[in-house]
């Protein structure tokens, strides 16, 4: 058991945060970091998809 457990924030639903962030709400530095983090080095995967990914979804 993790020592860092804490209850889910009870005020989450009424909180300030929006679920959706539009692209123009993100500054250029953060945007560049996001793009880099999700870049796929194997372009064939994004085009044709890798069945190995599907195996864990069933």
């Amino acid at each position: 058991m993790s020592d860092n457990r804490k209850p889910a924030k009870p005020d989450d639903l009424s909180s300030e945060k929006d679920l959706v962030i539009s692209k123009d709400q993100i500054n250029s530095v953060a945007l560049a970091r996001l793009v880099e983090e999700v870049r796929n080095d194997d372009p064939a995967v994004s085009r044709h998809y890798d069945r190995s990914y599907h195996r864990h979804n069933r």
Binding site: E37, N40, H56
Partner: protein
Amino acid sequence: MTRLVQASEPSISRNSSGPIDVTGSQLVLSPFRHFTIRRCINDVTASALLDWFETEAPWHLVKTNFYEQYEFSLFDAELPSYAGLLIEPRGVAHARSQMAVLFGVEFEQRVNVVAHKLSPGQRIAIHNDYLAGEETHRLVVQLNRGLDDDAGGMFILFNSADPSDIHQVLRPLHLSGLGFEISARSFHAVSRMHAGDRYTLVFSFYTTAAARRALGSH
């Protein structure tokens, strides 16, 4: 091995029982058919799942060339009692019927439900989930103890296969959900986790052959 759920066709009602509730969601057509919802799972189930995920759930690490995460099928596990309805025929049928109404399609009985966990350093690169003849729709439910924006784990929708062509970003807010139609255009990704653990339930649905023919896809 994954068990497939066989459930009788449910009636569609906001009051019908089931841990998942996506009624009231608004379908958005661009960049692909999807909806978002701020709350789609009840508190008791979510809390029971989180406790279980953090202690006894049977996670196993999977690494591929474009993602790394912990995962397992809920149908292969002994769920805590309060979460059991998630995979019982009644609960599955309830979620499936709501998704069918939202997307205006007819689903087969079978549904898959898996859990994912992303920990710091892990991410899922851009992909589209599309495989002809396989599952056609997903519902992704977020569960966590509260994640700041700096923690990462953002669900990103893209306009194309280009990772810089971001359409919008979804925070992994506890209890929130995203439903989408899988297609060659349904490009999405999850940004790298920098702190905390991000849990998701992933429901997969299959349109009937007749519905696929009608849509001219999948």
